[in-house]
Amino acid sequence: MNIIVVGLSHKTATVGIREKVAFSANQIEKPLKELLELEGIIEGVIVSTCNRVEIYATTRDIAGGIARIKRFMAEYHHLAFADLEPHLYNYHAESAIRHVFRVASSLDSMVVGEPQILGQIKTSYGYAAEYKSSGIILNRFLHKAFSVAKRVRTETKIASSAVSVAFAAVELAKKILGDLSDKIVMLIGAGEMCELAAKHFLNSGAKGVMVTNRTFERAERLAEEFGGEAVRFEELFDHLHRADIVLSSTGAPHCIIGPKDAEEVIKRRRFKPVFFIDIAVPRDIDPKVDDVENAYLFTVDHLQEIVQTNLAQRSLEAEKAEEIVTQEIGQFHKWLSTLEVTPTIVALRSHFDEIRRAELDKTISAWKELPPGAEKRLEGLTMAIMNKLLHAPTSLLKQAGQGGRVDLYVDAVRQLFDLESPLHDTEELELEE
């Protein structure tokens, strides 16, 4: 039994193509059903996000399964196969396992380390479970992918550093001021980055926001949006000392806060530190403010540098993450290979036993006068023959489970003795953890 992956992502297709192939979440039942009706496809999961559309499936026929899924994707969305095909990639066996582990760990994402993809895959898996299109193998596979993703997130710093200016500002604030839950942010002026940063601060638990603007109505509007307090621009320096974090982005041509103002503010705050973030160009805050004790001034350029450093660090962490993925692949692949060994051994044995029993019964019922103890003897005889015959193939299958070519042996045994595939009937399957 093999796992196959077919799909496209932002790496192989533009958004124009991706949106044509997307499966919508509230109509996922139909495509899942059709997927399972494809010949040779036993289990299936569809993952469709704005950056990728992928189908995971299990099949015995790798080449055929992949081809059929490709066609399915084209036909379901009424696209010409030749138009879609060049954008599709496919994986099977170990490379399929690696791909899905990597995707779940956000290693294949546009921004490595992004947190959304894991949730998206979990949701897709939820649908597959609900509509029973996934079975034992994909269930176990995706659960494993989730735990690998978790390992990557906790054991590497792939997702821990800020890669946007707004996040960098929040992280820096925590390094200066500690816990943000009793800290107040003052917004001077307005602007996208300013407001985004304020939002991030609030999301990170900041206590409150004060907004001031030359136009008081604007300040009021913003204050309402943030659930904060509007301050008149003329009264800025009456309230500035209440802020632990100052975000400034006005259109003023010169500085509105100078070192003397900063010293006043710090003294009034009993020397509690203040984090100034100057987003404006030309600058709102005199650079000499940074020389004031307990005042810490950063501009957007500084924050950008931090983001660059973090991005570089993420790619280092990504290498560690790839190692973790490689470790986990080995384990899972082994499980997958040995999955069929036990049921095959059981099936082989029961096949032999059926024949033994049938012939034994035939012989005994045809015998007119059985000597005493003969039945037992015959039972013993047939069992012994069967066991001895089974001994070699059984140990070989068990040993093959430890080594490599298990598929080969399992397939050979099943074909040679015409055994039913155990994975069609999930109740027969015993999982060895």
Binding site: L172, K174, K175, I176, L177, G178, D179, K267, R269, R270, F271, K272, P273, D290, D291, E293, N294, Y296, F298, H302, E305, I306, T309
Partner: protein, 271 residues
């Protein structure tokens, strides 16, 4: 004769120091855990060594340079372990534990013979006075460590050099908290230590204060930390100035503790 536990303590503190320093370079939770374990094990062994010394000599082990330095180190490590648990700032160990290690190593350089306690010192006041003094010294040592870390972080922030070490050290706020907490515990203890010393001196020698070098320098130390605490409580003084004064206070305290005993004659000198 140095007890086996003492050597064990030395070994464990060395391992802890190495672990904490390695932790600064490679900040993995595994290393941090091991550093903490070594420090804890070292402390336990150190405590046993001290208790053993106490029982075999019959008096509190602070009567010579060897014992004092050792007891000081013990107080430092004990106090630090409590702070590490509360503030989870494992990395501070790299600032503090090496100090304890140096103290223990230095203590082994001094003669270790157990001496009879000077009969004038046989009093309950000995325990009260000295233990409070030692614990206050330990507090000031940790405050020193936090102050140094604070100045390092401040430097990074002002120079905009936010590298690996910056990320690993705790926030300015945490360091300030730790320093302040140490001050609020250490200062009252030092005050009580000086007062109890004076009361005891009156009982033993007839005068509360004799301007013995130890007494004088303790007073100087006391004034520095009093000034620090006072300005913190009134004008809210904190940050660079406070850190520098904390470091100065620590150095004076070190002189009070060691320098006075070694170089200046007086009541507290170890003859």
């Amino acid at each position: 004769m140095i007890h086996i536990f003492f050597y064990l303590t030395l070994a464990l503190y060395s391992c802890a120091t190495l672990a904490y320093l390695a932790f600064i370079i490679r900040t993995t939770s595994g290393l941090g855990l091991w550093a903490n374990r070594f420090a804890l094990a070292g402390f336990t062994s150190h405590l046993l060594s001290t208790i053993h010394r106490f029982s075999s000599s019959g008096h509190l082990p602070i009567t010579n340079m060897h014992e004092s330095l050792s007891f000081f180190a013990l107080s430092i490590v004990g106090s630090y372990l409590l702070f590490e648990r509360k503030y989870k700032a494992t990395i501070l160990g790299a600032f503090i534990i090496p100090i304890a290690l140096i103290l223990v190593i230095s203590s082994s350089a001094f003669p270790t013979a157990i001496r009879e306690l000077n009969p004038a010192l046989k009093s309950n006041w000995l325990g009260i006075h000295t233990i409070m003094a030692f614990v206050s010294y330990a507090m000031f040592t940790i405050a020193f460590g936090a102050a140094v870390a604070y100045l390092i972080q401040q430097y990074f922030l002002k120079k905009k050099r936010l590298g690996a070490l910056f990320q690993k050290l705790p926030s300015l706020n945490t360091l300030d908290d730790i320093s302040y907490r140490c001050l609020t515990i250490g200062f009252p203890l030092l005050t009580l230590a000086i007062i109890s010393g004076a009361i005891w001196a009156e009982k033993a020698w007839g005068t509360y204060w004799s301007w013995d070098p130890k007494e004088t320098w303790s007073l100087i130390t006391w004034f520095i930390f009093a000034a620090l605490l006072h300005s913190r409580l009134t004008t809210g003084w904190r940050g660079q100035r406070a850190s520098l004064l904390t470091i100065a206070g620590f150095l004076i305290m070190l002189f009070t503790f060691i320098g006075v005993n070694l170089w200046l004659p007086g009541l507290h000198a170890y003859k």
